[in-house]
Amino acid sequence: MTERRAITGSWIAAIAISVAFFFAADAYALRLGTLLAMYVALASGWNIIGGMAGYPSFATAAFFGLGAYAGALVQQKGVPMPLAWAFGALVPAVAALAIGWVVLRLRGHYFAIASFAVAIVLRELTTNWTSLTGGGMGVNLPVLQISVIEQARLFFAAQTTLAAIAAAISALVAYSSLGFALTCIRQNETAAGMLGLDARRAKAAAFALSAALAGAAGAIYASSIFYIDPGDVFDVLIAVKPILMAMLGGAGTVAGPVLGAAVFFGFEQTVWAHFLSIHSGVLGVLVVALALFLPRGLLRWKRAGKAA
């Protein structure tokens, strides 16, 4: 099957490039690579609830921030980073189950707003709960006593591993019964329920998975920049960019978010470099163009009519 060969080929290429990059690139390039890997993880995570299940979630920022704080706070207490990151994945996942119990009853616009409101509530709670989180003054992490290049390599390795995990989870879900169920939910949730599917459980699983991935990305991010505050990690753009990336590449597919993250990252870096003061305006124009001309994403552009 050429598709299987393409997939294996892409994985091998990606791993090879990452390893080469790890050894050959300088700290600046490694940090860019880390950012790209984080984008891949976030976009793939969003895709599970937003693309496959069709629930337009704006909660990514909520889970990213929650993971960042969970990871940072335990790391401050001396927990080693990998464990802190795992904790940073667990806390948002559990939160997603609780929040999802309320919010996943909604559909379409209402779900989008509610998921967005969750991020705002969490941001405000974090700002106000000063005793736990340091409030607006943020959380400071002890700087690592290793060289700049070693730091860069460490976090690059962490985020790329997370990106690989995200892509793998994406693929596993897509080809499993859960992915099939999510596709049915997206296309006709009521009919799926009438056939015997417990849609609540399937949606909750998707929401929790996407939260865990966003949370882990947040925790690694926190460790890598040594300082986080609520406005930074609960930023609206963290909710919106993964959506744009997944849509750009093709929401609902496995490779779409990865492709979209890469293309978006490329655009963003170019625009930052050349159009700093109007970069959000340019982003706005790109976003409008995306929605007008490529709403189904790059991957589905040529393959019109293929079953989802």
């Binding site: 099939f180 169920a181 596709t183 296309q187 056939l195 079953a307 989802a308």
Partner: protein, 258 residues
């Protein structure tokens, strides 16, 4: 008193005093009936009589008061997916496929979600067999939204069949079909009932009702006004008054005499 036949409870579906209210309106009012394995029941009545509401009540899609028992255990208050897993399958008047998925996957969903198949590959295998049975094997790979209306109706039935139901609730599955298509549908329904499945069909076509159904139930303004074999129900005064109309009755009588 329930009689025991071959060690099983004979009335598979037992509904007593079921009512459904929407705001001030009683869509169903104190409806009671029983259905036995392998029976084909016709559910007729004017528009708005409560036929679809009845199906919605039994399948858990709307909240109903009253007692509803399936194979001895209560199904009142269960959510739709729980009812489906007990072996009750239903179709919709406005067909509800998964539009972008292939016919095969549509039917596989029926097999997988009901628990009839335990894995996706098994579900797809079962789906192939069911598509063969309803005559849609050729359309297996085509997306559901490319099928004709008649094919989509059969797809609905196939989805229900894939779940290995013990009761099948068909809501106007023949509306919009041509004569030969209806004959095919009747054959299929008879073969399903022959396997012991209770089939309850909402119908507007009297020839289907009289040739196919073992029993006919008539609803009017949410109330059950007749329950018996087709011949006597269709000649019943109250039914003629409410639904069939004088002219139908006269024509039927004339046909009987000729």
């Amino acid at each position: 008193m329930e009689t025991r036949r071959e060690g099983r409870v004979s009335a598979l579906l037992e509904v007593q005093g079921v009512s459904v209210r929407f705001g001030g309106l009683a869509a169903l009012d104190d409806v009671s009936l029983k259905a036995e394995q392998g029976e084909i029941l016709g559910l007729i009545g004017p528009n708005g009589a409560g036929k679809t509401t009845f199906i919605n009540a039994v399948s858990g899609a709307v909240k109903a008061r009253g007692s509803m028992r399936f194979d001895g255990s209560s199904i009142a208050g269960l959510r739709p997916h729980q009812v489906a897993r007990l072996g009750i399958a239903r179709t919709y008047q406005m067909v509800q496929p998964f539009p972008e998925m292939s016919a095969l996957d549509n039917v596989a969903a029926g097999a997988l979600f009901s628990g009839a198949a335990s894995s996706l590959p098994d579900a797809r295998k079962r789906a192939e067999a069911v598509l063969e049975r309803v005559g849609l094997a050729q359309q297996a790979r085509r997306p559901a939204d490319e099928l004709t209306l008649a094919q989509r109706k059969r797809l609905e039935v196939a989805k229900g069949l894939a779940s290995r139901p013990r009761m099948l609730l068909l809501d106007e599955v023949n509306a919009g079909l041509s004569g030969p298509e209806i004959d095919d549908a009747l054959r299929l329904i008879r073969s399903i009932a022959a396997e012991g499945v209770v089939v309850l069909l909402v119908e507007h076509l009297m020839r289907v009702v009289s040739s196919l159904c073992d029993r006919v139930i008539v609803l009017h303004h949410g109330r059950l006004i007749a329950n018996g074999d087709p011949a006597s129900v269709l000649a019943d005064e109250a039914v003629i008054e409410a639904y069939l109309g004088r002219r139908y009755a006269e024509r039927a009588a004339a046909r009987g005499r000729a």
